[in-house]
Symmetry: C2
Subunit: 546 residues, 2 copies
């Protein structure tokens, strides 16, 4: 059996755009010479709607549009058997569904059984669970082959051994197939599984485990969405295992790909996932995240405040890769507290990156503010004021050019509130807002445009004379460790102190800072998610909790 | 039977504070002379944790602290039968539970059956549903009386005839009680039901319907939480119906109240809810919302930009009522586009309110910015710049005083994006962010401090010469109607045009503006919720959806 993996980049809720993309792809498959033609085309989960339209799903008009465009624009064009993810409404229930279409007709609709409602997922807000009582709730046939159809969590819930789910779906499916004395030639899973560090490798492991523990004689096909969507980055990386559980094919990361694969082809030597550096993988994710935010909101140009520090340098590099040097503007905004080195290093960076640049001193603006407001120098209020003048300046430049601002804050700063709201927190997105400072330092080494001076200098906000981040924060190496234990591993103060050996004073201080900074995070730009716990749809905390 | 309604204001996740409040109240009940002593004390849903700790519930340490403080600080003090809402963990499942405590022991733990996961509710993210198989899953006995214990949605789901829930819980309970041949003397419901316009009256209707349709011979007791919690305002308004379904008692709105009520007392004439004007009710909610945000985050003082328009005037009045005139600072920040009337009207308002004031011209700051940035006048960029200078000025003043800024935007503006991010959108909370402009206009008439000139003048942002809001927006009367149809009734463009008779051009323009403004709302201050659909935890939309 030949399967066409249609790893596409849908736009959330842009049904017309998605339908056109889907139709074009189907038509090009149908136009192939007979020996190359696939037996089945598979699109990802919710390929027609994008993942996820969120509360738009409550609008009856939107739901109706989904059904209509599928019926009127897509189905009538399909002759080759095709699986498309979309939504389906039936008896007042809404489902996350797969449409099996053949000969211009819907042959079957299969609903998602396990609805993830944790981390970034919120599916129980919108969907009902599909029935899982009978084998026919999962099964379709193509060319007399039995195909088991699963949707994302239905299979990937195995990652946590289905402990976040209502039941073990693979166990259930296995039992149903044994009861009916049927076996699956292939298990096909349509997914919208977002990127996080190490996730592509983890998906392969899950597939191999599902093969090993449940369906030893089946092929496994995992087709994943690709593309940036607000804070989430879908990485593609679709996978195929042959009946021996060996990796037959792995699709591209962070790119659309359409590929016809013969499931029965002989495998001389088993494939492996391309050996990628973890940070390089994250770089790929961030570039796609930036690219798609701009492309999908219709913007082209980005403004970045260049401080001479490592954070803004890295953001400038990522933006240059994502948008092209002609679309990125670096703005230096020195004050009397800016060191000479910072300005020189910034200039070097801007020259290396070949991006447009501007230098606007904030000193005169600051002085007028201080005079008009009657504010003292060298106070926290003055520090924040400098940061807000820079934010305002950047926004004005961006407004005048129809551009967006990229925020340069990192995860360590967002965590402890070492950032100024409406100041350096200005921006449409924060590309490195899910990277700890220590990760920023490591990642910067991959960009030859960043002068060594920037990489090695001690971090400073330069908002008062000779300021260093370590004046008010511990060394980032130590800070980031504590943050990780608290944020990703969900350890509490006692556990971090007793099990990990950090001082009680420091640990409590940091956790307290995290809680007190919640009001800032609630007004933060969109932070591109690359970790297991980012400050975004995966972070729901109350502001008044102190 | 005498019941003590303990309508308390918990602080989310401040277990020590909540436990102390609970203990003090229990001790004072226990110290009452025997004839006044209640037979049962009832606290609201999640009274110990506050509603709701959100992702803190994922922290094992927090869950353990909840169990420990209940056991070690509270239970040991309780002799009178008491019902307290908190969380309970069992076999790896977390429940939203009621603890029935007597003689210093937990006699029973009853779990919530129906978990709301719509609008502002997200309970399936955290909790498992309690079993509802047996009558004992609901039943406790006090003084040989049968009491049916429900938690919020378990009863209030009746509002939507349980269509958002997995089953009709009242039907189920009725069937179980008939099967076991048991009847309930009272149904007691512990709730954390947030305020929205008309909600207190609706709760009474629900209770009466539950009495009428399911348990005609039972008393009904609904004990509700009170207090502001981020965007949600719990209004109290606890209710008691006697066995005839008549209103026996209604507790205070927007205040804590502890009251012992004899369920069997004779009712000469049935009570009714106090007849309140809808807008006055909303004013009460907003004042509590402001008050609690400040009290619970530890702030006292507020800064408000006073423009001479109606929005800032109303916010200043609400803040004065909530925080006291000595804690509110009105700041006028005129530019050359400010009309003479605006400055005079502002001064009149500030004098009437007896709040401190300051006048800082932004003209010189604006000119320096324009020069330094090289920006043209009379562009959108210049308009935004003025707004951001004002935001920055307010933030600097507030920073210097350890105060918070209140944003003055209304719902009509947040909807269509007629507000400047990092400018007039600066602030910790937006007190009138869930009021349409037409509501703001109506509500202002309740405040005698607002000069008539402010109420009758045509709305203007005064960011360019002779600007009026109607230059770029339709009349607010018309705009607000379309917004309501789209936001609250979830009608789509076609329905608004065909069924409601608005022009296609205008309707589509407005819906388009709503979508395009999503990036602003994602960085907006906390908006106090008073409507059925506010821009906050009840509004989940993707930014890139256009």
């Amino acid at each position: 059996m030949k399967i066409c993996l249609a790893q596409i980049n849908s736009k959330v809720a842009d049904l017309k755009y998605n339908a056109e993309k889907i139709c074009k792809l189907i038509e090009s498959c149908q136009a192939l010479p007979i020996e190359q033609k696939p037996d089945l085309i598979v699109f990802p989960e919710m390929a027609l709607t994008g993942y996820t339209p969120k509360d738009l799903l409550f609008h009856e008009g939107f739901r109706r549009d989904c059904q209509n465009i599928l019926k009127e624009e897509i189905i009538i064009k399909i002759t080759i058997p095709t699986l498309i993810g979309s939504i389906h409404e039936e008896f007042g229930n809404l489902y996350n569904s797969v449409f099996f279409i053949e000969d211009k007709q819907i042959k079957k609709i299969i609903h998602k059984k396990l609805l993830p409602n944790y981390e970034v997922f919120n599916e129980k807000r919108y969907f009902s669970s599909g029935s899982s009582d009978k084998l026919s709730d999962y099964l379709i046939q193509v060319k007399k082959q039995n195909l088991g159809i699963l949707i994302c969590e239905d299979l990937l819930g195995l990652e946590n051994n289905f402990e976040f789910n209502d039941f073990n779906n693979l166990e259930k499916l296995k039992n149903l197939s044994e009861k009916d004395n049927q076996s699956f030639d292939s298990i096909i899973c349509l997914a919208a599984s977002p990127f996080r560090e190490g996730q592509p490798e983890k998906r392969l492991k899950i597939l191999k485990k599902a093969h090993q523990d449940y369906f030893k004689a089946s092929n496994f096909v995992l087709i994943n969405l690709v593309g940036g969507q607000d804070d989430l980055i879908f990485d593609g990386n679709s996978l195929i295992l042959n009946q021996n559980g060996e990796l037959l094919y792995s699709a591209k990361s962070f790119e659309e790909e359409v590929k016809v694969i013969d499931l029965n082809q002989k495998l001389e030597t088993p494939n492996a996932l391309p050996d990628k550096n973890k940070l390089q993988e994250i770089i790929g994710a961030l570039i796609l995240g930036i690219q798609d935010y701009f492309a999908k909101t219709g913007f082209k140009k980005a403004f970045i405040g260049i401080s001479g520090g490592i954070d803004s340098a890295l953001v400038a590099c990522l933006a240059e890769r994502a948008l092209g040097s002609e679309n990125v503007f670096g703005v230096m905004m020195p004050s009397k507290y800016s060191s000479e080195g910072s300005i020189k290093d910034s200039e070097k960076l801007l020259t290396n990156l070949k991006i447009k640049s501007k230098c606007i001193s904030i000193e005169e603006i600051l002085q007028v503010y201080l005079k008009q407001i009657g504010l003292s120098q060298l106070t926290l209020a003055e520090e924040n004021l400098q940061s807000r003048i820079r934010g305002t300046t950047l926004m004005a430049l961006a407004n005048a050019e129809g551009a967006l601002v990229l925020a340069t804050g990192n995860k360590s700063e967002f965590a402890v509130g070492y950032a100024t709201l409406y100041g350096d927190m200005c921006g449409a997105i924060a590309p490195i807002g899910d990277l700890y400072k220590t990760q920023v330092q490591e990642m910067s080494k991959f960009f030859s445009e960043i002068p060594t001076e920037i990489i090695i200098k001690p971090p400073s906000a330069e908002l008062r004379p000779n300021q260093k981040d370590t004046d008010s924060l511990p060394d980032y190496a130590e800070l980031d460790k504590i943050l990780k234990f608290y944020l990703e591993d969900k350890l509490n103060a006692a556990e971090i102190i007793e099990q990990k050996g950090f001082s009680a004073e420091l640990t409590k201080k940091i956790i307290n800072l995290i809680k007190k900074a919640e009001f800032k995070r609630q007004q933060a730009p969109i932070i591109l998610k690359v970790s297991g716990c980012s400050f975004g749809s995966d972070w729901l905390y109350s502001v008044i909790t102190r």
